[in-house]
């Protein structure tokens, strides 16, 4: 690990830069010039400042998203771990409702499995059994990722600081019990105008979306912000992400889990 640390002033400056980009709708430069190379702790400190800002503004925290869950994306960024960001209630969109593309910067879509918790995961030594017992139900999901950083020019610290490049998300509307589908082997297809534009399976997300969710639960417990009953977990992409243009409609089917649609308004 790099011994060089990032100054509090630099962390504040990075948070301000990303916050300004988000509120103005104009993408900014990366923030890695302000942070020590590979300093993930500093990047999470940047994220935390903007989380506090959101909560102070009255935004409701409803869960977490997990990013960098595919081996290919981890290799691309030279990391061996996923990352996480916050989900707020105002990021949720309904199945098939028109989504305003301007609500997210540089949108891309990816298909995921969402887990909704029916119990707290606040133990400091969690196992997959705790996770399975805590999952109330699963839903098919489309995450609309975005980046406040111009042209998605991101390294690890940029995406962590930028709330793990989160944007909006759409959930399906038929809850499925965790033992009623196969989270590891379920096939996934995302179609646009009848063409499969992204295909994959549960195993593409860290071997299983449950592995990703357990990683998140352990990290959250360790940093003293444990996952709570009612939280939504977006567990990570099951296939490659796809760029969005105005008017695009994406239909995702996950075998055994059902279907969900992200429909973007024509501008």
């Amino acid at each position: 690990m790099n011994a060089v640390t990032t100054s509090p002033d630099a962390i504040r400056a990075a948070a301000d830069r990303l916050h300004t980009a988000a509120s103005s709708g104009v993408a900014c430069d990366p923030v890695r010039d302000l942070l020590a190379a590979g300093d993930a702790d500093a990047a999470y400190a940047v994220q935390a400042i903007n989380t506090e800002r959101a909560l102070a503004a009255g935004r409701r925290l409803v869960g977490r998203k997990i990013g960098l869950t595919s081996v290919a994306v981890q290799k691309q960024l030279g990391v061996g771990q996923p990352d996480y960001g916050m989900l707020f209630a105002d990021m949720a969109r309904c199945d098939a409702e028109d989504i305003v593309l301007a609500d997210v910067l540089q949108a891309k879509v990816e298909a995921e499995i969402a887990f909704v918790l029916g119990a707290d995961l606040d133990h400091d030594q969690l196992t997959v059994v705790d996770l399975l017992r805590a999952i109330d139900f699963a839903l098919p999901a489309i995450e609309i990722v975005g980046s406040r950083v111009r042209n998605w020019d991101i390294r690890l610290t940029d995406t962590i600081a930028d709330n793990a490049s989160s944007g909006l998300y759409v959930l399906g509307s038929r809850p499925v019990a965790i033992d009623d589908f196969d989270p590891r082997l379920c096939g996934m297809v995302m179609e646009q105008a009848g063409e499969p534009v992204s295909v994959g399976a549960g195993a593409a997300c860290m071997g299983s979306p449950l592995n990703a969710a357990l990683w998140l639960a352990r990290v959250m417990a360790r940093v003293g912000k444990p996952l709570r009953e009612g939280d939504t977990i977006l567990s990570g992409a099951l296939g490659p992400m796809v760029t969005v243009r105005p008017g695009d409609v994406f239909d995702v089917r996950i075998e055994g889990l059902g279907a969900v649609r992200a429909a973007f308004a024509r501008e």
Binding site: L185, M188, E195, P196, A201, A203, A204, G207, E255
Partner: protein
């Protein structure tokens, strides 16, 4: 002017001796797709003359990604013989191929004759069983590089196949997760939906395309619907294990 029979001899001998050859279109620059299918039929006739028996058909370029790779917008097909069939759970000898790759597929086993323009319902009524499968593709051309007529003449790169346990034809195989592992490590992850959005569309294309060549799908034929992921190169010592959601596992070991 080189005859089509002479071209068939070139690809047949390249396949049987596991030797790479230059692309046919390097010398026959105007080789048409129709001529290429004629070369393929003639090369299979040579195998039949040596005692190999008909085993079915394979469909190729069944995903948009692969069509774009070759720069075409149509599905291609090839012919399977019994000598290409390999034993599930057994071994594959690397030396018998030029540069073999494996890809996961869905196989349809035909129970009643099928040809021409048919509906999905008619096609499914002719299917006796569905199975998970692995196809060994091995271009006989140098560096695995070819034009569309080249690959068609070369039996659409088909050179071997493994078929797993049969499932009922009513099994929904439209979006099954597929996990291909080498020595227990994932190398390809995908879904059967990559095959034209639903593998049944590939079976309809098979019925249509072989009818155009005056043939039909016969009882006992196996139709390989096309690759569900990118193909993975094979080297001796690898254990290939592919798990298909709801259909089971197809595995083999690569030897020298």
């Amino acid at each position: 002017m080189t005859s089509l029979a002479a071209l068939a001899a070139i690809v047949d001998e390249a396949a049987s001796s596991a030797t790479a050859v230059p692309q046919l279109t390097e010398t026959i620059t105007d080789l048409s797709v129709d001529d290429a299918y004629a070369v393929q039929a003639l090369s299979i006739a040579r195998r039949r003359a040596r005692g190999e028996r008909r085993a079915g058909y394979k469909m190729g370029l069944t995903s948009r990604a692969k069509m774009q790779q070759v720069g075409v917008s149509e599905i291609i097909w090839g012919r399977l013989t019994d000598a290409m069939r390999l034993t599930e759970g057994g071994e594959l000898s690397r030396a018998r191929y030029v540069h073999p790759r494996v890809e996961p597929e869905i196989a349809y086993i035909i129970g009643r004759p099928l040809a021409g323009e048919v509906s999905a319902a008619e096609a499914l009524a002719a299917v006796e069983a569905i199975a998970p499968a692995l196809e060994i593709i091995d271009s006989r051309y140098r560096d695995f590089k070819f034009t569309l007529p080249d690959v068609i003449a070369d039996n659409s790169s088909s050179s071997g196949f493994f078929v797993g346990s049969w499932a009922r034809p009513s099994a929904d195989v439209s979006n099954l997760g597929i996990l291909m592992e080498v020595d227990g490590r994932p190398v390809q992850i995908g879904s059967s939906a990559a095959i034209l959005g639903n593998p049944i569309r590939s079976l309809l294309a098979a019925a249509r395309l072989v009818a155009r060549a005056g043939e039909r799908l016969e009882p006992g034929d196996i139709v390989l619907a096309g690759g569900a992921t990118a193909a993975h190169p094979l080297t001796p010592g690898q254990h290939i294990r592919t798990t298909f959601q709801a259909l089971g596992i197809v595995a083999f070991t690569v030897i020298t």
